[in-house]
């Protein structure tokens, strides 16, 4: 990724730092030269571009053998766990399906009311009503059953690990690295080992969702316990608390809000994984409904089911967040009759009994009559078809334009993109030479304007779009990233990054990795540019912020899966659709961080600048943005992370790269292939994460700002 480069302000730093910067600029220029040299040699030595198959280590095969051994040795055990879990699992599922829809609706509405008031209750009634009316009740309840099973287990496991990490620093280190792995390896990748170990069935979804959902609970529990002020602990001790009392009566209640936030995040993660896990089928739930409809290109149906998922996610999020943010003083405490103390419970109990009695008389309260269902997918399909036909020219234009002028140049380079068919002219040798001349000129100008670093960034960019990311020689890419790591965070980091890159190369997933980097790279650059601009607008103009905030909230709570639907509908499957879906998700953190960073610039600095007579534009560009830059860079970090997590999901709509490789592994039950690709994704995520973090930290240190 060429955009990640240090651009220090060389004017007012000690001369030692300056000489260091120039020295590293020289290394960068050497790397550019090295890249060009390798590209020059590529016809003579094609292995510089394509890493030869013969040099690939049998990593996937070894993994498969290890997995086969593990399944053979421990399969019995895991399968018995699976059978044991199957019992409560189907119990919950049967219960939810047996409950009359009217009762479920009432109970959820009362819960929503208790969590945050009548607005949410009305929204919940609307959401549940929608599921009933469109006839996806059973599917919704099957999905809900998985969530209902996995959340308490994930919360319990997460809380235990959190408490363990809190009390034993040594355990903490192990637990945190475990979480890092669980959260960076894409969710798809560990569906397969679970499938192999636990056997086919809904239990796979359950286990995967627990594994995916418990890490946020650990982090929040630990954070909450840590944040309890020392004086509160001391006051507990001085009140004569025993160790047990101190934990359960002082620490945990004081940390409760953070712990409840953890439950909120765990619930959302669990639901998101339940939806993803439906890809393996077996449980007729809403996720499967969306996917199978999408595969049959019946977008109306998939949109209808997608909305169910979105509504469920929103209801779950608002309810759990409502409980976390609730002021406890809403409850009448202590005295009062039983009814006053337990009014929600009482209303729920009475309502349930009444509805049960009524549904004995009126069966439509038990099972919603099929005749009353209204399936909007027919008209929706017509509408979508109409749109697509009517605007075919425009859609086609957007697609072609994006394809020829944006995606192909990045992927395979201008060199191979430009042809009479695409750009309308032949890329003749003279024209190539003209490009080269222009590139040299631009580099020289950049040097003149921004110094050596500017020249390096410009030349790397121009070389990349000429040859294409996937056609860059691997030794050059490895050299560049390793040196970047060394520059940002020292030798240890560089060694770690080098080892990671070597794994990608030796396991034979290098081409797929570069495909992923290319797609994710474009998405991240565009998302970051778009999101940061929107964030700046939002920070400067309150109305913009008010409009953007609910949109960001909604996009963030949505299971990633659902984001695919509108883009697939219009642009069909393909890389461009994937790009848009990734962008829809990855723009959110860029907006959030830019706005937050600008809004939290110290008021003193702003006032001082005001007093000096800054115009609004000067204030923004000279004061606020430079001070908010470290926070914005954290936003870049999050943009990359969001982009990568969406990349895997986007593999469902036809991308090539690691995401698709994971998906292939899952389809063929080839553990090695799926897992290697999964690890590959994790490596991209970890390397990108560490480098951007280091970059942001370096800048913060220079500005003397502590991170938020």
């Amino acid at each position: 990724m060429t955009d990640v480069t240090d651009k220090p302000d060389t004017t007012d730093r000690p001369s030692k730092a300056r000489s260091l910067t120039t020295r590293s600029s020289l290394v960068w220029l050497a790397i550019v030269a090295f890249t060009l040299l390798l590209l020059f040699l590529r016809t003579a030595a094609p292995w510089l571009i394509t890493y030869p198959d013969g040099w690939i280590l049998p990593i996937t095969g070894t993994m498969n053998i290890a997995m086969d051994w593990l399944v053979a040795e421990t399969g019995e055990f895991f399968r018995s766990v699976s059978t044991a879990l199957e019992v409560p699992m189907s119990g919950v599922r049967n219960l939810l399906n047996w409950l009359p829809w009217s009762v479920t609706l009432l109970l959820l509405a009362i819960t929503a009311y208790a969590a945050s008031g009548w607005r949410l209750a009305v929204f919940t009634v609307f959401a549940i009503g929608y599921m009933v009316v469109v006839g996806l009740w059973t599917e919704s309840m099957n999905s809900l059953a998985l969530v209902v099973m996995s959340v308490p287990l994930a919360v319990f496991i997460g809380f235990m690990f959190g408490a363990l990490a809190f009390f034993y620093p040594r355990a903490e280190r192990a637990i945190i690295s475990m979480l890092d792995v669980l959260q960076t390896v894409p969710a798809f990748a560990y569906l397969l080992p679970i499938l192999l170990l636990f056997g086919f069935g809904a239990v796979v979804g359950l286990i995967a969702s627990i594994l995916f959902a418990f890490p946020p609970m650990v982090r929040n529990t630990l954070l909450g316990l840590r944040r309890v002020p020392p004086e509160v602990i001391e006051s507990g001790l001085m009140s004569g608390a025993t160790a047990r009392q101190l934990f359960f009566l002082v620490r945990v209640p004081s940390a409760l809000r953070q712990i409840l936030l953890g439950i909120n995040q765990t619930t959302m993660a669990a639901f998101s994984m339940v939806v993803i896990a439906s890809i393996i089928g077996g449980s007729s739930d809403v996720g499967w409904e969306v996917l199978s409809a999408m595969r049959k290109a019946r977008f109306g149906e998939s949109l209808v089911a997608g909305i169910v998922i979105a509504l469920m996610a929103m209801v779950m999020d608002r309810i759990t967040a409502g409980f976390a943010n609730k002021d406890t003083d809403d409850f009448t405490k202590g005295d009062g009759s039983f009814f006053q103390r337990h009014r929600y419970l009482t209303i729920a109990a009475i309502g349930t009994v009444v509805l049960f009695a009524l549904s004995a008389v009126l069966p439509m309260l038990r099972v919603y009559p099929e005749g009353w269902e209204y399936d909007p997918s027919g008209p929706l399909n017509t509408a979508i078809d109409y749109l697509i036909v009517e605007y075919a020219a425009l859609i086609g234009l957007i697609k072609t334009w994006a394809f020829f002028f944006l995606m192909l140049p990045m992927k395979i380079g201008l060199e191979q993109t430009i042809s009479p068919f695409s750009w309308g002219f032949e890329f003749t040798t003279e024209r190539k030479l003209m490009y080269a001349a222009a590139a040299v000129l631009a580099t020289a100008l950049a040097w003149f304007r921004w110094g050596a670093n500017g020249a390096v960034v410009t030349s790397l960019f121009l070389v990349t779009i000429f040859f294409g990311i996937t056609k860059l020689p691997w030794p050059a890419v490895i050299a560049a990233i390793t040196f970047l790591a060394w520059q940002l965070a020292g030798a240890r980091m560089a060694a770690g990054v080098l080892a990671c890159l070597a794994f990608l190369l030796l396991s034979g997933v290098w081409p797929q990795t570069m495909l992923s980097v290319y797609l994710c790279g474009i998405a991240v650059i565009l998302s970051f540019a778009l999101g940061t601009s929107l964030g700046i607008l939002a920070a400067e103009f309150n109305p913009v912020s008010q409009v953007l905030r609910p949109i960001c909230d909604t996009l963030q709570t949505m299971p990633l899966f659902v984001l695919l639907i509108p883009f697939v509908m219009i642009f069909k499957i393909g890389e461009f659709t994937a790009l848009l879906a990734i962008m829809a998700y990855a723009t959110v953190p860029a907006i959030r961080y830019a706005e937050h960073g600008l809004r939290s610039v110290s008021a003193d600095a702003v006032e001082a600048a005001d007093c000096m007579g800054c115009t609004r534009w000067q204030l923004l560009t000279r004061v606020k943005i430079p001070l908010a830059k470290p926070v914005m860079m954290l936003g870049l970090n999050q943009t990359i992370m969001y982009g990568i997590s969406m990349l895997v999901i986007a593999a469902l709509v036809g991308t090539s790269g690691l995401g698709q490789q994971v998906y292939i592994g899952l389809g063929d039950a080839d553990f090695g292939v799926g897992m290697t690709a999964g690890i590959g994704m994790a490596i991209i995520a970890i390397v990108a994460d560490r480098l951007t973090q280091a970059w942001s930290k370096k800048h913060q240190a220079e500005l003397g700002i502590t991170p938020p």
């Binding site: 002020p229 009140s239 009566l249």
Partner: protein, 366 residues
């Protein structure tokens, strides 16, 4: 000021050390370390460890308000935490009612904290999820008392601190002063004999702080607890202390009554603290009176231990002066003139002291 029962010692802190660093106990086991505490502290510091409390010794009498004063980082908070073993002292003895607290096991310690000690914290340390009444009853709940008993005993201290009507509020709904009232009530709910207050009013704004000091003195005049009170505010110490101790760099600099500290400061450090004190608060009628004056019958009478500040209103209305009595006998007369000349004398002596300090400071720098 309360009358102290100086015959009975409630709490005795003997040669208490708290060292932070690697293997802190080794400083007291090996023989080749300096025996002089100041040298030992210096040695510990040069070796990279931190002596947060160094050889701290003092006694607190029954019913006495003992104030520990020092700047931040002087070790006063460490010392008060050593007294309750919130911080485990590295070396020394803490003797409460004749028994060494440091020899108690965990269970005995919990028992002592439950019945004999109460502590008030600078930032209150209230539990955010409990109401005022529940916070105050919390120590009682930990003891497993019945709900009714908890309520009764809590109600008693709630009345004492004047929080009636706020029982079901949550801490975040209260002002700082009210929150600290909750903290005070909670520490008193178990009816402790030893009351520890760690900068209880430092987080409050000045007006409220004054109010709370008055409240505190009112409560103490009713309850007569043995008190260790931490503060960094010399004026606060002056208002409430029976005796006080000044600390610097973990070491005790001086122990004495406020007047003793002002009249006979042990060193420049103490003198600098006392230099901010308005003289009228420190000087007593006995210090500024003139003898040999004729005493007329319409003169008001004051005790020789009254501060000048307290007799100023009398002087304003009686230009002839105020008669000073000591144990029933008239020993002299304070006139406006005698006050002014005494103030002028003291101010001049302070001036020369600080000039001397300043010149020494310059000499040390050059």
């Amino acid at each position: 000021m309360t009358v102290t029962d100086s015959t009975r010692v409630k709490l005795s802190c003997r040669n208490v050390w708290k060292v932070y660093g690697d293997n802190p106990t080794s400083w007291f086991t090996s023989k080749d370390n300096p025996a002089n505490p100041a040298d030992l502290a210096e040695r510990i510091r040069t070796c990279g460890s931190i002596p947060a409390a160094a050889d701290v010794s003092f006694d607190v009498n029954v019913g006495e308000i003992f104030v520990i004063m020092g700047l931040s980082g002087s070790g006063k908070s460490t010392v008060v935490r050593c007294l309750s073993r919130l911080v485990e002292p590295t070396h020394g003895e803490v003797i409460l009612d004749g028994e060494n607290l440091l020899e108690k096991n965990r269970k005995q310690l919990i028992d002592i904290r439950r019945h004999k000690m109460g502590m008030v914290f600078q930032s209150f340390g209230l539990l955010p999820h409990l109401t005022v009444a529940e916070n105050i009853a919390f120590p009682l709940r930990l003891q497993g008392l019945s709900k009714t008993e908890q309520r009764e005993r809590a109600a008693r201290v709630i009345e004492l601190v004047g929080l009636e009507g706020r029982e079901s509020s949550f801490p975040r709904q209260l002002s700082g002063g009210q929150q600290q009232r909750v903290g005070i009530a909670r520490s008193l709910a178990v009816e402790p004999e030893l009351w520890l207050l760690d900068e209880p009013f430092s987080a409050l704004d000045p007006l409220i702080r004054r109010q709370m000091q008055d409240e505190f003195l009112r409560i103490q005049s009713a309850l007569k607890k043995s008190i260790v009170f931490i503060t960094h505010d010399f004026l606060e110490a002056l208002r409430i202390a029976d005796r006080m101790m000044i600390m610097r760099d973990g070491m005790v600099v001086q122990i004495g009554t406020p007047a003793e500290l002002i009249v006979n400061p042990a060193d420049d450090y103490v003198a600098e603290f006392t230099s901010d004190v308005p003289l009228v608060r420190v000087l007593l009628a006995g210090d500024v009176m003139q003898t040999g004056h004729t005493v007329s019958d319409d003169m008001p009478r004051v005790a020789s231990t009254t501060t000048v500040e307290a007799i100023l209103p009398e002087l304003a209305t009686h230009e002839g002066g105020v008669a000073v009595s000591d144990g029933g006998n008239i020993v002299g007369v304070v006139t406006p003139g005698s006050v002014i000349s005494a103030l002028a004398r003291e101010a001049a002596s302070r001036e020369s002291q600080s000039a001397e300090l300043a010149s020494r400071g310059i000499a040390a720098q050059s």
